[in-house]
């Protein structure tokens, strides 16, 4: 297992007294280099995020963007592509003057990622920016390429001397997926950490950039009323759902090689589980938060081949109805190989074997083409030991459920039992609901805006550490391998439904999947 490796602790710098009270902590001058600069992620997410940071005055005082991709093109052509992507995908219409300033600092380097001349060209550009600035400029390399190039690029950065720079910070931001198996993740960690220190590496899990996920820590650790109940004595089970109503669209090439387990459970949903189950960190620093999350992952036993059919279920959607329209089944989607056994639905029952959670099942499920789009965490409390009054005339008395909705309506609701007005003591569940949208004036920033800023600032709290990613794979890898070895247990479910009925078999007696 990998461990967190760090450079010697730097000597504390004198504080900047001017940052007190400012909502935005300054980011040091930075050049951001995007590998895969013409790809979908760059166009849809990274460039619009950079524009919005520029619009809000949140980019570093000196900022340069360099795009690296295979195709030969001039700087000016790449600037035009950036402009087009920003106009199309930005969350706000761009201000022409702001856009102009942002684009005048954009350059492009063409070439293949194995080609050393690309890195010497890059090196010249980066040195030129520093010379022009007359001061050190930090360097952040964003790997938004096909994952097969992550190791290649990192090693080329090492060979060309770009992984370190005198007087300035060098960071590498690596997109997901970080490996597709435990072995691959370990191998990639080995290759990355042979060149960079762990403190320089920022592994993206964009879920961690979502305001709602960060809110979970505030919810748990800033409200005294929940923590006393947050353990095996009061909680019966936890359910985490990430449902999508859409199919795979044009992503068959990626999705068929990945599947639901690798696409969402191995990263995002295990992160959500960690946020539910972790102990309060001593402080909200990157290391402390990530230490606590790793402890949770290490407390989840690695599933054995004998256990897998009992704790994991998978399915594939068939033709059905969604959004009032007929939709094709997975095998009929364009680009999906005939007879594919890739799962579009995955459900797991995991245990966190520690003092707080022993015996409490954590049910995780995710799928494409389910009844609706929804991401939520449901914490079901144990039922009361005795109802002192008759239940005659009562409707569905259920244990209390605390529902933390991540999307679409970010909020918290608590199901309570209340008396039905009238002469009889009849009761029914009612909902006490809090919606974040009703209580805050501000809109949440896009996850990538937050993550890019944090990476440029060197704050790794919302990024996955090497041991964390390997601990995630340790849990999922045996299931991935088992499922790849057999078609058995791959259930069908109709598009637009709640998922395969077989998923019910994972649940302990008395437990239920909440309707999607």
């Amino acid at each position: 297992m990998a461990v967190a490796v760090g450079r010697p602790t730097p000597q504390p710098e004198a504080e900047n007294p001017l940052t007190e009270g400012l909502e935005r902590i300054p980011v040091a001058p930075t050049t951001l280099v995007i590998f895969g600069a013409t790809g979908d992620l760059a166009r849809r997410k990274l460039l619009p995020a950079l524009y919005n940071l520029a619009h809000d005055g949140a980019l570093p005082e000196r900022f340069h963007l360099v795009g690296v991709a295979r195709k030969e093109k001039a700087h000016e052509d790449y600037r035009k592509e950036c402009e087009e992507a920003i106009r199309r995908f930005s969350r706000r219409p761009p201000d022409p003057d702001v856009l102009k300033i942002l684009l005048e600092n954009v350059k492009y380097v063409p070439g293949t990622f194995e080609d050393d001349s690309v890195y010497s060209e890059l090196s010249k550009l980066l040195d030129g920016f520093e010379e022009k600035a007359g001061e050190p400029v930090n360097r952040a390399f964003y790997l938004a390429t096909d994952p097969s190039f992550f190791g290649v690029i990192v090693e080329a950065l090492g060979r060309s001397g770009l992984a370190r720079h005198e007087r300035s910070e060098v960071r590498v931001i690596i997109e997901k997926p970080f490996g597709t198996t435990l072995e691959e993740a370990r191998e990639l960690n080995r290759r990355v950490l042979a060149i960079f220190d762990e403190t320089q590496v920022f592994r993206i899990d964009h879920y961690l950039g979502k305001e709602t996920v960060q809110n979970m820590m505030a919810f748990r650790f800033a409200n005294g009323m929940f923590e006393p109940l947050w353990n095996r004595n009061y909680i019966d089970y936890v359910q985490i759902t990430a449902a999508e109503d859409i199919g795979i669209g044009s992503r068959a090439g990626y999705y068929d090689g990945s599947g639901a387990l690798r696409d969402l459970i191995q990263n995002h949903m295990l992160q959500l589980l960690c946020h539910v189950a972790m102990e309060p960190p001593v402080s909200f620093t990157a290391e402390e938060v990530r230490n606590e999350k790793v402890k949770v992952l290490e407390a989840i036993p690695e599933p054995t081949p004998q256990e897998i059919p009992k704790i994991a279920d998978r399915g594939q959607y068939t033709r059905g109805h969604a959004g009032g329209e007929d939709v094709p089944g997975y095998l009929e989607e364009e680009g999906v190989p005939e007879g594919s056994i890739t799962e579009t639905y995955a459900a797991l029952r995991l245990e966190v074997d520690n003092w707080r959670w022993a015996g409490v099942p954590f049910y995780l499920r995710t799928g494409k083409r389910l009844a609706r789009k929804l991401t939520e965490i449901v914490v079901t409390l144990k039922p009361v030991p005795h109802l002192a009054f008759s239940q005659a005339g009562s409707l569905g008395v259920q244990p209390n459920q605390l529902v933390l909705t991540i999307q679409p309506n970010e909020g918290v609701s608590l199901s309570l039992v209340a008396k039905i007005p009238g002469t009889r003591m009849a009761i029914r569940p009612v909902i006490m609901e809090f919606l974040y949208g009703t209580a805050f004036l501000s809109q949440s920033p896009e996850a990538y805006e937050r993550l890019i800023t944090d990476a440029m600032r060197g704050d790794a709290t919302l990024f996955t550490r090497n041991d964390e990613i390997e601990a995630q794979w340790r849990i999922c890898d045996p299931i991935v391998k088992f499922w790849a070895s057999t078609k058995d247990g791959l259930a069908d479910y109709e598009a637009g439904s709640q998922g395969p009925k077989e998923a019910e078999l994972l649940l302990h007696e008395g437990h239920h999947w909440r309707a999607i």
């Binding site: 005055g57 000196r62 009703t438």
Partner: protein, 353 residues
């Protein structure tokens, strides 16, 4: 998205009737569609002269998403005898499937001089209990602000609007002792404070903060208070002891005592500036380095000159917020707490000529 309003109005009404109408309208809207939920963020009480209430309504419409969840407009017309009210509950269109629709309430109460003694009892039932309340009196009426402070956790002012800027700083100092003050004149300096903080943030630059020997601020002729607050901010953050400034022509000149050297302060009016706030600033350090930031289209024009005279120029992107954006920011700030404002204000008061 189409806007959908529910409206109630009554002439010769009472606070009880207005409050009951608010409750009824909310129940009605919820009955129409149970996805309608009232926003519960912030009450805002605006005490305005009735003849200018249209202008205030326009300003509030321009604040975008930072709209208070319940806005109580007390529209004052001295000779009015009767209490008239209009309640509007607005949602920005029907909620999409799976989404909820946010409702915002506006209550306009028209009142006269004879109601002022009972103003607290008129306003009190019309704000949502347990929500913070922001008080704004854009047409002066300092006595009314005093009266309504009991209902408010924060007061919104724009010191630039005060006829005499010296009085504005004194008044702000007085108000900060009674409530949390959000001053739009201070918020106009926010991007400048952020950029100066960023310029000195790299570890190699931080020691230069202690070596600043000259600060020049260029400001709109109406925005002396913003410039004073900016200078007060630097003074309070860097431990300078400022002395009163001296007017000289269109400028204010003075000194602040820092631990290593005195700092020369110069606040210059920039008559050509079209918008209120700061036009630019220049900082010079004892080593001879000079940093200038100036307003420009789409952001700031930055320039620096090192001790050897080498000059560099670059641009920093950032969209102008406009007056609507600044007012919106003021509303948002009512829910936050900036610990650096009061020390900056105290330092600005020490610089008053």
């Amino acid at each position: 998205m189409a806007r959908s309003d529910a409206v109630w109005s009554e002439q010769g009404t009472t606070p009880d009737a207005i409050e009951a109408a608010l409750r009824d309208l909310l129940i009605q809207r919820h009955a129409e569609n149970d996805k309608y939920v009232p926003a519960r963020v912030l009450n805002m009480i605006a005490f305005v002269d009735r003849e200018w209430s249209g202008e205030i309504a326009n300003r509030l419409r321009a604040v975008g998403r930072y709209t208070p969840s319940r806005l109580l407009v007390l529209a004052y017309e001295p000779r009015r005898e009767r209490l008239d009210a209009r309640v509007t509950i607005v949602s920005e269109g029907d909620p999409a499937p799976g989404e909820f629709g946010l409702l915002r309430e506006t209550v306009i109460v028209e009142l006269g001089h004879r109601h002022l003694d009972d103003l607290l009892t008129i306003a009190d039932p019309l704000v949502v209990t347990d929500l913070p309340t922001l008080l704004w009196s854009p047409h002066g009426h300092h006595d009314i602000v005093e009266m309504l402070l009991a209902l408010s956790q924060a007061v919104l002012v724009d010191s630039i609007d005060e006829p005499v800027w010296r009085d504005a700083i004194d008044r702000a100092c007085k108000l900060t002792k009674q409530a949390y003050l959000v001053d739009l004149a201070w918020l106009r300096s926010t991007p400048w404070r952020e950029r100066v903080a960023a310029s000195f943030h790299p570890p190699l630059r931080r020691p230069e903060l202690r070596a600043i020997e000259r600060l020049t601020i260029r400001h709109h002729p109406d925005s002396t208070v913003s410039a004073m607050l900016f200078a007060g901010w630097l003074a309070s953050r860097l431990g300078w002891t400022p002395s009163p400034l001296v007017p000289r022509g269109e400028a204010l000149l003075g000194k602040a005592h820092a631990s290593r050297q005195d700092v020369t302060l110069q606040l210059e009016a920039a008559p050509a500036l079209q918008v209120r706030g700061l036009e630019g600033l220049t900082l010079r350090t004892a080593s001879g380095r000079e940093l200038s930031l100036d307003r420009g289209p789409g952001g700031l024009q930055a320039s620096s000159r090192d001790a050897r005279g080498a000059e560099r120029r670059w641009r920093i992107p950032g969209a102008s917020r406009g007056e609507g954006g600044i007012l919106g920011e003021g509303i948002r700030q009512a829910l936050l707490r900036d610990p650096t404002y009061v020390p900056a204000l105290d330092a600005a008061q020490a610089m008053l000529p």
